[in-house]
């Protein structure tokens, strides 16, 4: 709890050190000496003295000042020899500051930097994992090519370290070494390959990052680790999640076939729920499209991350769904993306850009949320324009009237750039939705009498474009604009009107010459752009109506001839040669009419985000709309999926046989019992949810009652005393245990999937429920498998399959619905009043068991203190 007061004080102390060289806090003699120097170059001298003194505090003070210099971007490189001596200091802070210095200047002072290497080499052998890690971190950050072999060696050793933290550091070091010396690629890939096999969540993110940097094309390294990465994903730290998700997106695009085909909806679920490999093969042959279970696994395991607090993770999942999920499933990301719009301005900017791209292809996704894109006067301009873009994309016959009403408000905005953009947007709506074209045109014409010039100008420009697209019956509007011509002063708008006159001079044969007459009067006072269009109009009229306008044209051409601006003089000369036939003019003048009055293609009013979808969503390239350095093209779906067996992990094969045995031997142990119970319990939760979600009437009584018990326990912990509940739950847990055993005997299939989860259990025994929860969550497929089994435990196998097939597809397809149905459970009064022993408390106890790292007591009591309100 640092407070304002405290930092002020601290600040004062440091400021004194920073600013006044006089006030060295320690010995008076040195202090006096420093006081004499104030010039910059000499200041470093005193720092040197301080560093060479044998007082720790002086050295530290000096290093702090040096870091201050570095932070300001001032050079302190000449102090290198003095600083590097302190690399082996005992004082941790001093040491860390020396590291900062070293990493900053080692590149410049390579020879001297070598002095420090031996210190790090020694530290690499330290028994403390943090010291090993930090030594490797600094060693690999020193960009001195000579030590590449040393770094290579250190990385290789660290990659095999017992501590996952050190292994993580080695993954970071790989990237550093690679950027220092790309020739080491092959060796580094070996290390990456090894680290990819690592089962620690700490390492996963960093090694995938290294993979992306060093060898993003070696997709073959991922195969064996694919399922593990999917399963670990929830537990990886948030930054690692982003990297892994984007890598897996690319991977999935190369390994699975496109789910964007007709009739894919119903088959995929079945394919997923049966993780049995034999059945899989059968299905791939039989059906036109079946989602690969691994493909489904990825989608499943990333979905909960939509709830991450980290906006980058949410965006990463959103893009994964956009690029990989079947079309009807993509919309689950909508809500989360809209939620991000409440975040910081910069986040809004990126998210809106991505929504803009998505909304072009899939209007339906964001249409229900259209109000979230309404503009506030307090938004930054670029946010406003992006929202406008999205609103325009979302406009359709049904909502156009609402949107246009919104636009009416925006047009009046004080932010004129935004008002102008709104007019453009109205123009786009008008072209896209033919029903409102006339309304929009009329509205725009009304805007012509607006007091603000930019608005008028923009309206005229947009009207011009609109008229070009359908020039037939709009003589009225052109006439109206001619009338306005006197009052409009914005050059661009005047020029646009003149162009319109010229282009459609045959539709307004009486007005056009009159406008030209007016222009002839004011020609000299006009802006250049208007003059050019005047010349243009004169030429066109001369060609169509030379009787009336010949003299006018000549007059204007003469004015133009002597204009100050050379562009205008040039244009005048050119036009004269083109339209006035004389001996000198060549063949061109014959074609003057065709040149000047050629039908011009109407400008296409379309979204600026039209072609952005060529970039993967959420990338820098997408944001900038150009290919950034190092951008990895998202591959197209393969026509035929590569062999999926490559993802089978070798160890699975023996385990398929051995797993049940392992499970059995483990379960009797008291320590592990908690976890396995938990596992079971979680599975049952699963069954509970899916059961109720699908409204499966055949869900057995067993699971039904259990679900009641669970929920009752949740809400009614107060009334059940702990002893009773624990004994009760033990009973039920043993039941479920036996259930599981039965299951394992009856079917081999689940083991294949549940195996990695089991591993992570044993890895994370000490670390408790997070790992637990996720491991059970991540092996969703086997969960659901076991659900159905426990559901129909008493039934014969045949109906079991039926229910499975019937129920499960529904759940997955209507995943939204599932949620709402679940919610209704909260309102059913029954469970709340039934204090029963339950499985859940047992699971919680087990959670706790894992959690309290130090003092484990098997009979944990939880306080059931009443819930209190604070006023």
């Amino acid at each position: 709890m640092s407070t304002g007061v405290s930092y002020n004080d601290q600040g004062g102390a440091e400021a004194a050190v920073e600013a006044g060289q006089e006030s060295t806090p320690t010995s008076s003699s040195t202090g006096a000496a420093f006081g004499l120097f104030s010039a910059d170059f000499k200041k470093n001298e005193d720092l040197k003295e301080m560093l060479e003194s044998n007082k720790e505090s002086l050295k530290l003070e000096a290093m702090k000042r040096i870091v201050g210099l570095i932070a300001k971007g001032k050079s302190a490189s000449e102090l290198f020899p003095a600083v590097v001596k302190n690399v082996a200091s005992k004082n941790i802070e001093l040491k860390k500051l020396v590291y900062v210095y070293l990493v900053r200047y080692a590149e410049k002072q390579q020879d001297l930097a070598l002095l420090s290497i031996s210190t790090f080499q020694r530290a690499l052998k330290d028994p403390n994992q943090f010291i090993r890690a930090s030594a490797l971190r600094v060693l690999s950050s020193i960009r001195v090519p000579i030590i590449v072999p040393i770094m290579m060696l250190a990385i290789k050793e660290a990659a095999a370290d017992l501590s996952p933290y050190v292994r993580k550091t080695s993954a970071h070091a790989i990237q550093k070494l690679y950027s220092l010396d790309p020739d080491q690629k092959e060796q580094l890939i070996e290390v990456i390959e090894k680290l990819l096999k690592d089962k620690s969540t700490l390492v996963a993110g960093s090694v995938v990052m290294a993979f992306e940097e060093v060898c993003p094309d070696r997709i073959d390294l991922i195969h064996k680790n694919y399922r593990k990465l999917c399963n670990l994903l929830v537990d990886v730290e948030e930054w690692g999640q982003v990297v892994i998700i984007s890598m897996l997106t690319r991977y999935a695009r190369t390994q699975f076939t496109s789910p964007w085909t007709e009739g894919a909806e119903f088959d995929e679920n079945k394919a997923f729920y049966d993780s049995d490999s034999e059945e899989k093969k059968d299905q791939t042959e039989a059906k036109p499209y079946i989602m690969d279970p691994d493909h489904r696994l990825l989608l499943r395991n990333t979905k909960p991350l939509l709830q991450s607090r980290n906006t980058a993770v949410v965006m990463a999942v959103a893009q994964l769904y956009w690029h990989l999920a079947p079309k009807h499933e993509v919309s689950i990301v909508t809500k989360s993306l809209v939620r991000l719009l409440r975040s910081h301005r910069e986040v809004q900017y990126i998210v809106l850009q991505n929504i803009a791209t998505m909304s072009i292809q899939r209007k339906g996704m964001f249409e229900p949320f259209i109000k979230s894109f309404y503009v506030r006067s307090t938004d930054a301009t670029h946010i406003k324009t992006l929202k406008l873009e999205i609103l325009t994309n979302l406009a359709n016959e049904a909502n156009i009237s609402t949107i246009l009403r919104e636009f009416q408000t925006y047009v009046k905005s004080q932010d004129k750039a935004f008002a102008a953009a709104t007019i453009q947007a109205i123009g786009r709506c008008a072209t896209n939705i033919s029903e409102v074209t006339d309304t929009c045109l009329n509205g725009l014409v009304l805007l012509l009498s607006n007091r603000d010039e930019t608005v008028v100008a923009e309206s005229i420009v947009v009207i011009k474009k609109l008229l070009q697209t359908q020039p037939t019956q709009h003589g009225d509007i052109i006439k109206h604009m001619a009338k306005l011509f006197d009052s409009v002063t914005v050059p661009m708008a005047r020029a646009s009107i003149l162009w319109l006159m010229g282009e459609y001079c045959e539709k307004v044969p009486k007005i056009a010459p009159d406008v030209l007459r007016k222009m002839a009067k004011t020609f000299t006072a006009e802006e250049d752009i208007v003059k050019l269009q005047t010349v243009n109009l004169a030429a066109k009229l001369y060609l169509t109506n030379s009787k009336q306008t010949k003299l006018l044209t000549q007059y204007i051409l003469n004015l133009g001839k002597y204009d100050q601006n050379y562009d205008i003089r040039d244009r005048t000369r050119f036009i004269r040669q083109l339209i006035v036939p004389n001996e000198k003019s060549g063949a061109l003048s014959k074609y003057a009419r065709r040149i000047l009055l050629a039908p011009k293609p109407a400008p296409v009013l379309e979204s600026a985000f039209k072609d952005r979808d060529r970039y993967q969503l959420g990338t820098l390239s997408h944001s900038l709309n150009l290919k950034a350095t190092g951008y990895q093209e998202l591959p197209d779906w393969p026509a035929v999926a590569p062999d999926h067996s490559v993802r089978n992990v070798e160890i699975v094969e023996p385990l398929r046989e051995s797993a049940p045995i392992v499970g059995k031997t483990k379960q009797p142990k008291s320590d592990d019992k908690f976890y396995s119970d938990d596992e079971d319990e979680k599975e049952e939760e699963e069954s509970d949810s899916s059961g109720s979600g699908s409204e499966d009437s055949s869900s057995s009584e067993e699971s039904g009652s259990e679900s009641e018990e669970e929920s009752s326990e949740d809400s009614e912990k107060t009334s059940s005393d702990s002893g009773k509940s624990s004994s009760g739950s033990e009973k039920s847990s043993s039941e479920s245990e036996s259930d599981q055993k039965k299951k394992k005997k009856t079917k081999k299939a689940p083991q294949k999937k549940s195996k990695p989860a089991g591993d992570s259990d044993s890895d994370e025994n000490g670390n408790g429920p997070v790992g637990q929860a996720s491991s059970s969550s991540s092996e969703s497929s086997s969960d659901s498998e076991s659900d159905s089994e426990s559901d129909s435990g008493s039934d014969s196998p045949a109906p079991k399959k039926k229910t499975e097939e019937k129920a499960k597809p529904k759940v997955a397809v209507n995943s939204k619905k599932e949620v709402s149905l679940l919610d209704l459970d909260d309102f059913s009064p029954a469970p709340t009043n039934a204090p029963k022993p339950s499985v859940l408390s047992q699971s919680l106890l087990s959670d706790l068991e894992g959690l309290s790292l130090s003092n484990i007591t098997s009979t944990v009591q939880y306080s059931r203190a009443a819930y209190e309100m604070v006023k």
């Binding site: 405290s6 930092y7 702090k64 960009r143 948030e238 980058a312 939620r339 990126i350």
Partner: protein, 418 residues
């Protein structure tokens, strides 16, 4: 990923730079300054810029620009999120994020930045882990340090980083064990001229201050969890429990943190606590305008509306305001054109009213658009969505904690168009 970081103040001076890979000259910032110049308002600077060799991603926080230099493709949100995390960390450590604060603590800032990124990839961003490694400054320690030459760097090594729950440090001990939760809801609404709600949504957040010893495992359940269909969680919350039972189950970090945020979208019916009757008009003749605003309670669920405040960003032409307020007082800032009416408590019997005339600059055309009103308000002990925490239980520890939940509703981006 992130190559370098520059901190730039509102004057455009670079006052801190940090490089995680080789040094990049600060001249790269010139491209940013160019864009900054063009944007006029610092809010309008595009967050992502491109230069010939680098990409610049910046955020604007507390009048400072955090500008990061990128060399290769990276998700921009990744960088933006990280930069905000850096700013949050500074806020957390120093209680502020201004230039003076950062310059005063430059060594700690540097140490933090060193730990937060390794080779441009985030390493330790959890506040609890960082605080174990680098202690936040406080008076006592800085005094002791100057006397003894002690340091701010923790002697212990951060075990938290290793565990599966990196957000919580081990060995937490308190004499008073307490857990407080603040449910804060902000109403974002746009109300149009006639008083109809154009859009309204609720942004809710549950902030927690948990000071519990050991490794407590908390569960929080709600009376009406189906309200929450769009949520995001602190990493400590177990997704699975939420999905299956709609219960928040978590081992909390130590100290202050944001447990969850939720969003109730405009598709739902959102109660608007106040209504506003207003008329603002500008007259062509006499170059003056009239303003009349009345505010009354609408759906307040029987609670009092407090801290009511109306902010109007007047058009440029308005020179002065000559108004009378029946309650509270108003100020008009001539330079920023900001009219602020601070009302205070809303009394349903006697509705607050502000009326009077506006004097306009002569010879300037009347503004087209009437300015919109931004409303601020606060309602204690009410979550406007109706969300209620039904219970909070703790497992894993034997002591009895003190628990408390507080509700408050505020106006977020509450705008009334006129």
């Amino acid at each position: 990923m992130i190559h370098s970081l520059f901190l730039i103040n509102h004057l455009g001076d670079i006052f801190l730079e940090k490089h995680w890979k080789s040094v990049i000259s600060r001249s790269v910032c010139d491209y940013f300054f160019e864009a900054r110049e063009k944007a006029v308002d610092p809010e309008n600077v595009p967050p992502v810029l491109q230069t010939p060799h680098h990409y610049l991603i910046s955020i604007y926080r507390g009048k400072l620009f955090f500008l990061s230099v990128i060399q290769t493709e990276v998700p921009p949100l990744f960088v933006i999120e990280f930069l905000h995390r850096v700013a949050d960390t500074f806020q957390d450590y120093f209680g502020g994020c201004s230039e003076s604060v950062i310059s005063d603590n430059v060594v700690i800032v540097y140490e933090l930045l060193e730990e937060m990124l390794d080779n441009g990839f985030p390493l330790a961003t959890e506040s609890n882990v960082l605080k174990e490694m680098i202690r936040p400054p406080n008076i006592l320690r800085s005094v002791v340090n100057t006397l003894t030459g002690g340091s701010n760097v923790g002697e212990t090594l951060p075990q938290g980083q290793l565990s599966n729950i990196p957000w919580r440090r081990a060995g937490v001990k308190y004499t008073n064990n307490e857990a407080y939760f603040d449910v804060t809801e902000e109403i974002d609404a746009i109300v149009d001229k006639s008083g109809t709600t154009v859009s309204a949504e609720i942004q809710g957040v549950i902030e927690a201050c948990v000071k519990l010893s050991g490794m407590p495992d908390l569960t929080m359940s709600f009376m009406n969890p189906r309200l929450l269909d769009d949520v995001s969680f602190h990493p400590c919350v177990r997704f699975r429990r939420w999905e299956s039972e709609r219960i928040l189950s978590f081992i909390p970090p130590d100290g202050n943190f944001t447990l969850m945020t939720y969003h109730i979208s405009s598709q739902n019916l959102v109660a608007i606590p106040v209504y506003v009757k207003q008329s603002i008009s500008f007259f062509e003749a006499g170059s003056c305008g009239r303003l009349d605003i009345t505010i009354g309670p609408k759906q307040t669920m029987g609670k009092t509306v407090e801290d009511l405040k109306v902010t109007v960003h007047m058009p440029k032409a308005v020179l002065n305001a000559n108004l009378t307020a029946s309650q509270g007082n108003y100020t008009y800032d001539f330079t920023t054109k900001l009219l602020v009416w601070d009302i205070g408590k809303l009394n349903p019997q006697k509705l607050p009213n502000l009326r009077g005339s506006l004097s306009m600059q002569t010879g300037v055309p009347n503004p087209e658009e009437n300015p919109s009103l931004n409303i601020d308000l606060k309602i204690q002990q009410l979550a406007i969505s109706g969300l209620k925490v039904s219970r909070l239980d703790m497992y894993g520890e034997t002591y009895k904690p003190f628990k408390g939940v507080k509700y408050v509703t505020k106006a977020g981006k509450f705008q009334v168009r006129t």
